[in-house]
Amino acid sequence: MEEPWIAPLEADDPEAAWDLFIERYRRLIFGAIRRYTAEHDEVMDVFARVCEALRENDFTRLRRCAAHVEPGRPISTWIVAVVRNLTIDWFRHRDGRPRLSAVADALPPTRKQIFLYVFVEQRSHVEAYELLRSRDGAELSFGEFLKELNETYRAAGAGRRGRLVEELGGDAPEIAVDPNVEPAELGEQQRALAAALESLSPEDRLAVQLYVVDGMPADQVARALGYPGTKTVYNRVYRALAAVRSRLEQAGIKAGDL
């Protein structure tokens, strides 16, 4: 697929390049933004920000993309990645921040703080728990915190910016987390799990992480890691999960105990 905007960009006519670029990709950019918010005004504001960012510093971002383009290779993945970063950035740091604050203001005090730590400041759940206790004086167990956290996810994700909130806060905690477990115990589990997976190569460990934990489809994992097909992904996942189970059974821990 030819990219007609590259030639004028390289010929030092960036405005002509810009016109061709935006004509070609306007709908993609809008579609990518609308994945995060259904509010028409926000979509338009973020679109303006995306255009501004792509034009900034003499079209630096576009020039870097142009230098990287190969004939026949679509740049759509790059565009959606740019839009994602700019959309999240707009809501977290710029004009969209009041909108996020409005979401937080509708929550009870503890959940409001959780929202600010996890979704706005993008801290881990464990960090948010520690801050709630140390900074905010909240007296709640980790299990109670996880309940509040799940309710915060539910409330924050229910609105017209549900996908955006998901991207800001990441996935809600696993339902099966033992409500009586403390963060220190989770650290021990993490070390045990890491030991169970150390026999896998880094790429295989990432395949397991992306498929099992992050929910990436197997065919996309396979393509990203250069595997021959999805069966390789399933094979790595199966080996990893078997190793996890075996390691923990050796330690006298069954999955149902955690």
């Binding site: 697929m1 070609r24 990709y25 709908r27 993609l28 809008f30 579609g31 990518a32 609308r34 994945r35 259904a38 028409h40 870097r64 993309c65 290779r73 993945t77 790059w78 959606v80 990645a81 740019v82 801290r123 881990s124 759940h125 464990v126 996880l146 990441g170 996935d171 696993e174 099966a176 987390v177 989770l186 650290g187 589990q189 993490q190 799990l193 880094p202 790429e203 990432l206 992480q209 992306l210 099992v212 934990v213 992050d214 929910g215 489809p217 996309q220 990203a224 890691l225 250069g226 069966k231 399933y234 094979n235 996942v237 199966y238 999960l241 996890v244 189970r245 923990l248 999955a255 955690l258």
Partner: protein
Amino acid sequence: MTCDAAASSAGPSVRTTGSMLQLIKRRVRMTHPDPESLVPHALRGDDPVVARHVQSCDTCRAEVERLPQSAGLLRQQRVSASRGETPQCLDEIAIADFVDGRLDADARAPVVAHLLTCARCRAAVVDAGRAVREVSLTGTGSAAWRRWSIPLGAAAAAVLLLALWPRGGADRGDLREPPITGTIAPVPVSPRNAVIHVDQVVWTSVPRAEQYRVRMFDGQGSVVWTVETPDTAAALPTTVRLTRGLHYFWRVEAETDYHRTAASDLVEFEVTGHEP
């Protein structure tokens, strides 16, 4: 891997006939799927062949029950994952290259090493992969996207070829909620067939639907507009310009509790009036 059913033994008072011997000798072999084939069914529930096997195989059913338990232990570790940005975080070109599978082993190694430790970049990778599947790739109807099967799926393409338009008096236009018998699909109400102007799309509601997703396509299969809303109507943005005389298509998908979805038929319309 196979397992043989054990032959039964006849009592001393029973004379074993030739045909009975044949039956005893005939071995019933049960073929199990490869262990890794259990993974997509166990973790995502999306393999009907394995599902049927598991119903009658205790061995595989036990394995299918164990796999999610181990997976849950891995997912528990998400509570420790921070999504803050670091100087080592990947730029958009690196993310796109990784998602598109364009990195050779040498180039991929440092990206893999970073992704193993960075929840922020992993989220960017996963979302980029999801986004390119959900959103139109050019919007200009280039040759690569004139193939129906890519944006619409084979089933939707078949519906289109059967020529839904026009439906005339058989159109279902009522807006009453149907009885709750299962996951029912929404029905596009407007626009349908020939319309002078389009400023919104409207559809019937689905009981317990939490979110609806609308997608509108041009005649070449490119997505011209997509929106998600909890309502049963959505205003067409002024930035989406529909050309008079061209045919467009749209469908709406309802997401109910437990993330079940039900999609409407693909509906065709043509704008006959002037553009706004």
